[in-house]
């Protein structure tokens, strides 16, 4: 501890903090302009100068470390005079109007505190205003040159948009485009706006709503990163979202989706009353009518065709509590294990592979390990677009810390620019590539012998097996040189700790589960498991996709990913109800059963399966065959539009309480910001009411999400220590088996849930049946982009549409030239399974002979094109490889 004196009061502090940190801990306010806790101390504004006894001149508090014995004075008349003079210099060039209009800005606070409001002499200057961006307004006549925008763009987002021009008092900050922000490479994360102390950069949504607002902290409803945000509401309407500064995941940063794309709440086509389809027409009804009509039908199907004639789909968008209820409803109220969720179509292979091999089907490590790893292996993921906060952290690790980066991806994604090695493999060849890396590690004896000895089994068998996976022999098939494969393997095996991060480019293949197993093999071989900066880490796609499956929306698993037979007794006694013994159907099998007439009714909660499941013609046949389709959503999605019998309108995550589970097993609170719009209900309320209408109310007698959560904690030991009260401060990572347990950042440190050792798997390569031919010469990869989220339900109803199109077909310039295609030209894309029309976009990131398209626009309906092939273990569709032909429309 350091003993210091601050303003004549003795105090003690931990070592390693700055003078400013100490002052803030004591709530001693000194003005600062250039300081932002997210950034390296800068010491440029000079407002935080303080006196330290014995030092020749005043020192900047922000970048001077506290040291023992310091005698600090913060508000001597000399220092205060200095601060006032400095602020006065600014005032001469600063316009008065905004200072009065936005009293809450840091800088305006300081102006008032130093009594300078009457000395504001600057004039507004239209030439310094940039109105081009749909979310951000720029008015550099209010710039005070703290350079926070420049630094946060560089140090946190890594986008380098803001540039400093000229020098001295002619210094100007401009976007690098030299024109407008809209024309720059800005990714609209809004970090610069959040940091700006004056409002030179400001959210447009705030300019329109000046009145006082209430702010609520919650968890982002978009991807599985789990960023925390504070949501500002004015008169019951959400008007602004800002990053939560101390979030363990996002650390005060958000992306364009979380930060700005919230207007879908108020889209004109949001459904706010329940509806029943009568004679082909949707008819608005009361909740009583909707519930009794639905319950009656469900009862009828169960009575006439048995409980397995009905299925329930939980939602990766809903809370843990709601997913828990959805599966409990299926098992207890209906009596079937036919319950699944959309994890099936994304990371189910990861869960299966990691559960089988390591005993836990979730990330072994945490996002904080990105900063601890010496090497990052990113496979089949495009984090800077799809998990932008993770992407930014990886980018910073490579840029600032010099971490090694290996990117395995067919496309030259943004991270490839910062990578030591980019392995642009042919789509569908993950298994041979990763096996060849394993070969290199074995052949060159780069494995961790001690780890193999202690923690790994079947090493000898694996060593023999891997002999046939010589890089030189797979190089052709993978389209990656043997040298590059070997170099990547060496780096991963030797520059330790090394951490792998993977996405759907690994899983959405017929060998999805096997690909992840190969990745786990690499971690086992090199001992990159159970330690800081290591592990196998899936980036989960949706806010609660990890939670929805984990809560038991899984035909073979109960809450906590417990196998049916294993958990039967525990759950029967907890729920006071018998459980169905028969294995349930997963969503793909549900489609098969529907087509065969075995499945009659389906309740789809927050899941537009018609639009998003692969091979739409098959999905259509299946859904058409169903007698009764309940759709629960915010919008009349494609499934509802075509096949819905009942529509139950729901509250958004900003309109309810609950929890989400992010990709690193962290459970975080979701809090109600505004009342549910119109007559929308939370999913949990609907499920409970439905159960009650079916005479099962006693099993679903809950009054709050917290009550549901406490029941979950009672059946799921690894989550039992995670209470709402504890989550008030910050989310916790399971396993967290007791109220005192701090949560688990890193799994498998000493042992695996399956024992001391994990076995290496010998994975053969079974290529997909989906191959190119003369008729279908291109391989199509589908995916998403920065500005749009999944099916576009939310982002498609916001100004994100102005920032990026959702109907894009990326094509290599060589191919475009050969086919005579221009940028923006409408192109028909045709596979063995169907066709769709998109806009061509020439992109050097895509390899010749390959295409990349987004599935995010309902009007495009890209899944007409994708194939019916599925992963052998998890039944996940092969979204990433489809042979297609293209032609100009």
């Amino acid at each position: 501890m350091l003993q210091v004196t601050i303003n004549h009061h003795p105090c003690a502090f931990e070592n390693g903090i700055s003078i400013l940190d100490a002052l803030r801990m004591l709530s001693i306010h000194i003005p600062t302009l250039c300081h932002d806790p997210r950034l390296q101390p800068y010491g440029g504004c000079r407002l935080c100068l303080v006196r330290v006894k014995g030092w020749p001149g005043p020192v900047t508090a922000c970048n001077t470390l506290l040291s023992d014995g310091m005698e600090i004075e913060t508000h001597s008349s000399e220092i205060e005079r200095h601060r006032r003079t400095l602020l006065r210099l600014f005032a001469q060039r600063y316009p008065a109007a905004p200072a009065r209009q936005f009293p809450d800005k840091e800088f305006h606070d300081d102006l008032r505190a130093y009594d300078l409001m009457d000395e504001l002499r600057g004039a507004p200057d239209r030439s310094l205003v940039d109105d081009s961006h749909p979310y951000i307004r720029v008015d550099m006549s209010r710039c005070v040159h703290c350079y926070r925008c420049v630094r946060i763009c560089n140090e946190v987002q890594g986008q380098f948009v803001w540039q400093v021009w000229n020098r001295g008092d002619s210094t100007r900050i401009r976007p690098h485009s030299q024109t407008t922000l809209m024309e720059s490479s800005c990714v609209s994360c809004g970090a610069c706006v959040d940091s700006c102390p004056t409002g030179a950069l400001e959210d447009r949504s705030l300019l329109e709503h000046l009145a006082s607002m209430s702010w609520t902290k919650t968890t982002c409803p978009y991807c599985g990163t789990g960023c925390e945000m504070i949501v500002g509401a004015h008169q019951g309407r959400i008007v602004s979202i800002r990053p939560a500064l101390h979030s363990p995941v996002s650390k005060g940063h958000l992306c364009v989706k979380g930060r700005y794309a919230f207007d879908y709440h108020y889209a004109h086509d949001r459904i706010t009353t329940p509806m029943i389809r009568q004679d082909g027409q949707w008819k608005r009804v009361s909740w009583e009518q909707a519930i009794s009509f639905t319950a009656e039908n469900l009862r009828r199907f169960v009575a006439n065709y048995g409980p397995d004639s009905v299925a329930v789909l939980g939602s990766a968008r809903a809370t843990n509590e709601e997913n828990y209820l959805a599966q409990k409803f299926a098992r207890v109220a209906l009596g079937t294990n036919n319950v699944d969720c959309c994890a099936r179509v994304c990371h189910a292979p990861t869960a299966v592979a990691m559960k089988l091999m390591l005993g836990t089907g979730a990330s072994t490590n945490s996002f904080d390990d990105i900063e601890r790893a010496r090497t990052l292996l990113v496979c089949g993921a495009n984090p800077t677009e799809n998990h932008p906060i993770v992407g930014a952290r990886i980018k910073q690790a490579a840029l600032q810390r010099g971490a090694h980066l290996i990117v395995i991806d067919p496309r030259r994604i943004e991270l490839a620019e910062y990578a030591d090695y980019h392995l642009p493999l042919r789509p569908g060849t993950n298994v041979p590539l990763l096996n060849a890396m394993a070969y290199t590690i074995v052949e060159e004896q780069l494995y961790d012998a001690a780890f193999l000895q202690e923690r790994v089994s079947e090493w000898e068998e694996f060593r023999n097996f891997i002999q046939s996976w010589v890089p030189e022999q797979v190089a052709g098939a993978c389209r990656v040189s043997a040298d590059l494969i070997r170099r990547a393997a060496r780096l991963y095996a030797t520059a330790k700790p090394a951490m792998s991060i993977h996405g759907l480019g690994m899983t959405e293949h017929t060998q999805g589960t096997e690909s992840v197993m190969c990745l786990v093999n690499l971690a086992l071989l090199t001992g990159n498991l159970g330690k800081a900066g290591t592990g196998v880490n899936p980036l989960r796609g949706q806010n609660n996709v990890q939670g929805s499956a984990h809560m038991g929306c899984e035909p073979n698993h109960l809450t906590g990913f417990v196998a049916l037979e294993q958990g039967k007794n525990l759950f029967e006694s907890a729920w006071h109800a018998p459980l169905p013994a028969k294995k349930g159907l997963n969503v793909m099998e549900m489609m098969d059963a529907a087509e065969k007439g075995e499945l009659k009714a389906l309740w789809a909660i927050g899941y537009d399966l018609f639009l998003t499941n692969a091979n739409s013609s098959k999905t259509k046949r299946a859904l058409q065959s169903l007698d009764f389709v309940i759709v629960q959503d915010m919008f009349l999605n494609e499934t509802a539009r075509e096949f819905g019998s009942v529509f139950l309108p729901v509250a958004s995550p900003f309109e309810k309480e609950g929890t989400f589970m992010n990709a690193e097993r962290r459970i975080q609170r979701v809090r109600k910001v505004t009342q549910p719009l119109g007559q929308t209900w939370s999913d949990w309320e609907i499920i409970c009411t439905m159960a009650s209408a079916m005479g099962k109310g006693s099993f679903f007698n809950y009054h709050s999400p917290e009550e549901i959560w406490d029941e979950i904690r009672s059946v799921w030991k690894a989550g039992s220590g995670i209470s709402y009260r504890r989550m008030e401060q910050a989310g916790l990572q399971w396993p967290c088996p007791s109220g005192e347990h701090p949560g688990t950042e890193i799994l498998h440190s000493d042992t695996f849930p399956i024992g001391k050792r994990a076995a290496l798997r010998r994975i053969e390569f079974n290529p997909t049946a989906e191959t190119t031919s003369q008729e279908f010469p291109f391989l199509l990869i589908t995916g998403r982009t920065l500005y749009h989220f999944n099916a576009g339900t939310m982002t498609g109803r916001t100004n994100n549409t102005l920032l990026g199109a959702a109907d894009r077909l990326d094509i290599a310039p060589q191919d475009a030239q050969r086919l005579g295609l221009r940028n923006g030209q409408r192109v028909r894309i045709r596979s063995r399974w169907g066709e769709a029309i998109l806009s061509a976009q020439l992109s050097p990131a895509i390899a010749p002979g390959e295409l990349f398209a987004t599935f995010q626009a309902p009007q495009v309906f890209l899944n007409h094109v994708t194939s019916p092939y599925r992963d052998a273990y998890a039944a996940t569709p092969e979204y990433k490889v489809t042979a297609v032909a293209i032609e100009a429309v």
């Binding site: 540039q163 020098r167 030299q178």
Partner: protein, 158 residues
Amino acid sequence: MSLETLSDQLLAEISEILAKHPQRRPALLPILHACQRRNGYISPEIERAVAELLGIPVIDVREIITFYTLLLPKPVGKHHLQFCTNLSCHLQGAEESVAAACRRLGIEEGETTADRRFTVTTVECLGACDMAPAMQVNDDYYANMTSDRVNELLDKLS
């Protein structure tokens, strides 16, 4: 390819500079000097070519040019008359010399003659206070540039 903007000679000079610098970014100023020596100023095309050559964003090059006064984003006359007007030269009547040059050439300070032969600018201290009033014409220093001597020099250069 914007590299075509650079002449072979210049490219040769640049490769020589690059060979001397183990890291690329530190070669930026020397390369910009070389470009300006050959081209007279740093055109947007050159900016792009240099950025490409060094693998840095073109805007980084622009940022540097806006910071350093000797790097010229616009062309100047064949003879670039740079009058020091800092203290020692001011004390020796630098302003009159500038005025004399402008009068003689029929331009204002900061301008270039229509025939693109002369540009007159004022600059900060040249480190030639012993030569006050001092001026620099392109790379060469000139001492005691009183109005008369300015006119004599312009006679010679015209």
